[in-house]
């Protein structure tokens, strides 16, 4: 009987099936089909070892396909989450850039004559004499502070973790004034452009805000 089962299962001769189907059980067994053992059908090359572990080429292929699909979804979900994070950072950066550059071209700062006072007296940065008309002295002082007190100024401008660079350009692209810093390892960078008047010239105020991990 054991030989019949071995033959049906195509197991090697050294497999001791009698461990599983003892002699007294054999007496009761008339015929055991593979279906009764839980397997509908065995493919060619299937093996059942002495510890009851089952291997077959189909199983290995199926597992490989499953692992590849699983890996694909892990990688794709990670890439998607990176893209979504980047989108949120960009959106936040746009928000910050508008909040930072708007007051520079629209307001004179707080106190209004901050350029004549010490840096510690500065509460809010603004470069305009009146709306869109930039003050020469304020621009010079701002550029100076961006060099000498960059980190403190960044805090006063509520820039948080972002770096800031200020550029004043004419419409040919020539830089008239510049100060600040763009992180060379940035992952996101936003350039905020505003039109203003500076020394009776029409100029572009560029605020470059960058973020690096």
């Amino acid at each position: 009987m054991v030989d019949i089962i071995k033959g049906l299962l195509k197991v090697p001769a050294d497999v001791a099936l009698h461990k599983h189907f003892s002699a007294h059980a054999c007496g009761k067994l008339k015929f055991i089909t593979p279906a009764k053992l839980g397997f509908a059908r065995f493919s060619k090359g299937a093996r059942l070892n002495g510890r009851g572990q089952f291997f077959s080429p189909d199983l290995i292929i199926a597992l490989t396909v499953f692992i590849i699909i699983l890996a694909f979804f892990f990688v794709s979900s990670h890439a998607m989450s990176v893209q979504i994070d980047l989108y949120y950072i960009k959106n936040e950066l746009e928000d910050v850039s508008h909040a930072v550059v708007n007051p520079l071209v629209l307001f004179g700062g707080e106190p209004y004559n901050w350029e004549t006072k010490s840096f510690s007296d500065l509460n809010r940065m603004g470069l305009a004499n009146e709306r869109n008309i930039l003050d020469d002295e304020k621009v010079d002082k701002f550029v100076e502070y961006l060099t000498t007190d960059y980190n403190t100024l960044r805090t006063k401008m509520s820039l948080g973790k972002y770096d800031f660079k200020f550029e004043l350009q004419d419409f040919n692209g020539s830089v008239i004034k510049e100060g600040g810093y763009v992180n060379p390892d940035f992952i996101v960078r936003i350039v905020q452009k505003r039109i203003a008047s500076y020394n009776d010239r029409q100029v572009i105020v560029r605020g470059i805000i960058s973020y690096a991990n």
């Binding site: 998607m80 893209q83 979504i84 746009e94």
Partner: protein
């Protein structure tokens, strides 16, 4: 159901194919995401900035006094390439037809989105005071 092979049902195959298709579509849409709402805000800012600069530099007033749009044209031509602007100045006596009109060189009125900023001007001539309305339309090139 096939007797052999790792694809054991057509349903599973169709399901996996659809899943892969959805993932690819999701990637495609994620890659095309752009913050267009900020573009609109930038355009509004640029239009308001430009008309404010024209007003504060007395370009509008001088153009009215000279009855010439050349000064306006030279200023709007000097703006960033990304933007297109057109400026119309209406007299208080005729708000239908502009007395002065200028459109940035190289721009055509072919836009998806138009932003308009306006200013009311009071021009003091030798004889009296006249009111004008300046309308600046801005769009992306």
């Amino acid at each position: 159901m096939q007797t052999k092979g790792f694809i054991i049902s057509t349903d599973a195959f169709i399901g996996l194919s659809m899943l892969a298709f959805i993932v690819v579509i999701a990637f495609f849409y994620l890659s095309t995401v752009s913050l267009t709402s900020w573009n609109t805000i930038d355009l509004i800012d640029a239009s308001r900035d430009e008309i404010t600069v024209l007003e504060k530099q007395q370009v509008l007033e001088n153009a009215i006094k000279q009855s010439s749009a050349d000064l306006i044209l030279s200023k709007i031509n000097a703006t960033s390439d990304a933007y297109c602007f057109e400026l119309s100045i209406f007299s208080q006596n005729n708000l239908d037809v502009p007395m002065l009109y200028a459109i940035k060189t190289g721009c055509t009125k072919n836009y998806e989105q138009l932003v308009v900023a306006d200013r009311t001007l009071v021009v003091n001539t030798d004889t009296n005071i006249e009111f004008y309305i300046a309308k600046l339309g801005g769009w992306y090139k």
